[in-house]
Amino acid sequence: MTLTDTHKITRILFQDFPPWMVAVFYGMVIVAVAVFLWGVFRQLRKYAAGQRDRDLWATARQRIGDTIVTILSHRAIRRRDQAAGGVHAMIFYGFVLLFIGTATITLQYDILGPFGIDFWYGGFYLTFKLVLNLAGLGLILGLVYMMVRRSWIKPPKLNYARPDRAPTDPDYNREFYRIEDWAFLWTLILIGITGFVLSGARLIWLQDDPTVWDYRWWSPVAAVLAAILKGLGLGAAVAVKLRLGLWWTHGILALTFIALIPYTKVKHIFTAIGAWLVKDPDALRRLPAGDLDQEKIGYTEITDFGRRYLLQADACTKCGRCHEACPANATGYPLSPRDMILTVREHADRQLTPSFVGLGHAGPISILGNGDVQVRSETLWACRQCGACTEICPVGVEHVPITT
């Protein structure tokens, strides 16, 4: 294989796709990105409805370095739960690498390619393939562990039963969050699996092309799958159809996933980093001073909340560590820091993210009260201000100043 041929060692995107199919795909990409951006705008508008926080950016600037180290090292997530922390790191780096991979293809195909600049071939392409294969494998294994953890290990802190509501209360049951958790897991794992089977089918389909077949072991997982499928008698003719079907499954799942990030638990990808960035390191030891001459003090409506707190409420992934650490919750008091923060989030979503139809408040205005999306005074009075929740929260939620 001469030097010039290395250009051939690459992957032809949309190979054998009719032009209309490519156009449809790009149409879908644009729609997905548009839906994503609208979601992001809605969230930012929600946070902007909160109170400006003078020293918000001061703490943010101070904490950029700390945030980067915390996110990359996952130290906050690993504390007191090494397994979950480590596995989440696998999923995190898997997802990040896959995202970078897709971005690289976009850079090559949509941006530099038209100007004739090619880099996605040869040694670079092969290493690229290897890295993404391993990233994908890490992602899937991580997700499998998380599924096992949720369905079989079942740590008590993942139980969504609420201590601050009686079973007869309309909003006692928060099981609907479980549906969102599982949808998130299944969507991501299916994207991973369809990606691999798709590339395995492609290898069988192009087994006669040495530039593809001879280098298949650079994508080891795909190569193994190809070997299995071949063993099962999958020929090139069927493989090409399988490849097309899986391509579209993979594509639609991925685009849907991206589009729905701002509307689902997936938004913690952004909000968790944002929340940690704006978290006040002195949240426990120094409460924000209240201005006594103002017309009002303390929070009664959701728009009284500081913007950082609304952002933090959206960062919560219900990991249950605060729920488990809270002494009031552990001894039967009607308080769980997790459920209190989720109530703040639900209240904010109901008040500040108006339905598509129009603006306007649906439901009670005050965050305090015995209604379904309200925080009860018995809950707030059960708190010991001991700070265990805020101290262990891996995404930087400041429950204590929100409560006080």
């Binding site: 209240g290 006594l292 001459d293 003090i297």
Partner: protein, 264 residues
């Protein structure tokens, strides 16, 4: 419709205190001052009536007879929801007894013309239990003492109430307005006045009057206007119980010994 609530700034003593030079009261340095405990309940009852009525239908006015230091008590009531405060004071009022104070309050009431006057049943420092009913006597108004329950809808010409008598018995009665009622502890649960609320309440109006403004002569206030005169106030020689000393165990066994002696 207006409810007027006289309030008093009462003193409480540390267990180590000294008398004033003239021996007729305790030296003020040894006193800690706060609103009379009974008045917390009468103010709360007035504000509850106001809050139950339509917006602005009921005005709650709090009145006190006392020097500048008494403003703090008025501000606390204003922070809880009273609308207006009146403080009556000048040097001639020094030494007024409860009847002289009732006479001053009666003049304020004639000025304000409220439909209902709620006072505390007694004060937590002297426990005279005089001012409220003396006020009614001077005004010639109907009155009820030691009220433990009150049912009143603003605008009606009468109201029904219950009086708490000895042994827990209660008497139900109704009374024509305008009337004076003295309020017993436990009729409601007084709300808390936050310090911020008290600070901001200082913006609400507090009218200051002298006995001249009320058309009272010098001989109607102060010691001249009083029906009793303090000869002396003293710390009594107390009978002291026989103190049982020793460790808790020894004290307990001595108690058991007494029980056996008495009960046989």
């Amino acid at each position: 419709m207006k409810i007027l609530v006289p309030v008093k700034r009462t003193a409480s003593l540390d267990d180590e205190f000294e008398m004033r030079d003239d021996g007729r009261d305790v030296d003020a340095d040894f006193c800690e001052y706060d609103i009379n405990e009974f008045d917390e309940f009468s103010v709360e009852e007035a504000i509850k009536i106001k809050e139950a009525a339509a917006e602005g239908a009921v005005e709650v006015v709090v009145v006190t007879v006392g020097s500048e230091d008494a403003d703090e008590v008025l501000r606390k009531c204003l922070a809880k929801g009273a609308d207006r405060g009146i403080r009556v004071w000048d040097d001639a009022m020094e030494g007024s007894d409860q009847i002289a104070i009732a006479r001053i309050l009666a003049k304020v009431i004639e000025r304000e013309q409220p439909e209902l006057v709620l006072t505390g049943a007694q004060s937590s420092d002297h426990g005279f239990a005089q001012t409220g009913i003396a006020l009614a006597g001077l005004l010639g108004w109907p009155h009820g003492a030691v009220v433990s329950f009150l049912d009143y809808t603003p605008g009606s010409a009468s109201l029904s109430f219950r009086r708490e008598l000895e042994g827990g018995l209660e008497q139900q009665a109704s009374i024509a307005l305008p009337a004076v009622l003295t309020i017993q502890l436990g009729i409601n649960r007084p709300r808390y006045a936050s310090l911020r609320g008290i600070r901001q309440a200082s913006a609400k109006p507090v009218e200051e009057l002298t006995h001249g403004d009320l058309g009272l002569g010098d001989d109607q206030v102060g010691e001249a206007g009083s029906l009793s005169h303090v000869r002396r106030m003293y710390v009594p020689e107390r009978g002291r119980s026989e103190m049982i000393e020793g460790t808790p165990a020894q004290q307990a066994s001595r108690i058991l010994q007494i029980i056996r002696e008495v009960r046989g």
